[in-house]
């Protein structure tokens, strides 16, 4: 099919849900003239502007870096801003909110529980030297090779597409999900981090990392190529090696003291999400 400058009419089936009026989601049909280059997010904006101002959806950067607009587009979790309509369909486009979350309204999922699970795996550099963590006296050096071991997993934008695609997430409410597990692994292999044992105690539970069975959909749908499936299998490998005491004791990056005036500590801003 030629992909030249053309406009065509695409039928949108968009899942709507108003908690004050509806028992559950229902589909509403819209027809939109779509031209080459229009993303699904552009389409939703056009519908909201010209046809139905009550349509609710989450968006922000519109360029695939913030992770706000993940939704189920023709049955696959994708970023709406990253997906061109004519790449996905020639006639019918179904847009639904991400599965495996609760829906607040229309296409808006409640991502706060996912952020809570993410926070629970302590996704920050942890050192056994608490004094150094709280009042740092210097930097940690890291070689490019050490960086490469976890760099891929830092590209995660927390969009929730992997969580929607995971079959275990469909039934198991206590399963952390691909994103928190990948972030736990990302910190475990970071040479600057010392908190592997605590994180492993949190993820190697009866509803933890071993409930991943490599369906691979998380890696298939990730818009940033983070490959959570790879991270989770590498984490299982680490756990088994730990069990057989095959892992060398991790040497954490030493502190390189810098002789400058320490900057004044800034107060942590209040946590506002979910309030």
């Amino acid at each position: 099919m030629e992909k030249t400058q053309k406009k065509c009419d695409i039928i949108f089936y968009i899942h709507r849900y108003d908690p004050e009026k509806d028992e559950g989601p229902w589909e509403k049909q819209y027809t939109l003239q779509v031209e080459r280059g229009m993303t699904v997010l552009d389409g939703l904006h056009k519908i909201k502007e010209t046809q139905d101002p009550s349509l609710a959806f989450r968006f922000s950067c519109r360029m695939g870096v913030c992770g706000s607009c993940a939704m189920l587009i023709n049955g696959k979790p994708m970023l709406a801003c990253n997906t061109q309509i004519l790449d996905v369909t020639e006639k019918i486009l179904t847009v639904a909110p991400l599965p495996n979350f609760t829906i607040i309204r229309d296409l808006v999922p409640d991502l706060v529980p996912m952020f809570g699970v993410h926070a629970s795996v302590q996704p920050h550099i942890k050192r056994s030297d608490v004094m150094e963590m709280e009042n740092p006296t210097g930097e940690y050096f890291q070689t490019p090779r050490q960086l490469e071991e976890f760099l891929q997993f830092t590209y995660c934008i927390k969009c929730g597409a992997c969580m929607a695609a995971c079959p275990t997430m469909a039934t198991d409410r206590k399963y952390p999900g691909p994103m928190p597990l990948t972030q736990a692994y990302r910190y475990n292999v970071d040479s600057r981090d010392d908190g592997g044992k605590d994180r492993n105690d949190m993820v190697a539970t009866s509803h933890g990392v071993f409930n991943c069975h490599y369906a691979g959909e998380c890696s298939n749908v990730c818009p940033k190529g983070v490959d959570p499936a790879r991270a989770i299998q590498l984490m299982k490998k680490d756990l088994v090696r730990d069990y057989f005491n095959l892992n060398k004791k991790k040497v954490c990056a030493p502190v390189n003291c810098v002789s400058v005036e320490p900057k004044p500590k800034v107060a942590v801003p209040p946590f506002t999400v979910g309030k």
Partner: protein, 124 residues
């Protein structure tokens, strides 16, 4: 670490089944394609062949090992599937305990049967 231990042995049992179960499948279900451990004709379930295998100590021990591996691997898999469906904490513990109990009972039955079969094959 406990779940890591359960899962690691689940994997080891799986590999054991691949080897021993694979040999068993070849003996009984691929007897026309590869003739393995069937010295008395190509019918793998004829009494003569069955008695030949039941008499041998080596076979009896490997069958008992295969039985243990299959029970552990199968029940761990079943436990995983049921846990993923969402159960209360007390139900989860009861499920794990009952699967252990049923597994051990079936293992004992199977082992006694294998031992009795060894005797039966020698005398009957």
């Amino acid at each position: 670490m406990r779940e890591t231990k359960y899962w690691t042995w689940f994997i080891i049992a799986g590999f054991m089944i691949f080897v021993l179960g694979g040999l068993h499948m070849m003996t009984v279900h691929l007897n026309g394609v590869v003739s393995l451990f069937n010295p008395f004709g190509s019918d793998a379930v004829a009494w003569k062949n069955v008695a030949y295998r039941s008499k041998s100590l080596c076979f009896t021990l490997t069958y008992i090992a295969l039985l243990g591996a299959v029970l552990y691997h199968g029940f761990y898999g079943l436990r995983t599937i049921l846990m993923e469906l969402g159960l209360q904490k007390t139900t989860q513990r009861k499920l794990t305990a009952s699967l252990w109990v049923i597994g051990i009972i079936l293992f004992v039955i199977g082992t006694l049967a294998a031992a009795a079969a060894k005797i039966a094959a020698t005398t009957l």
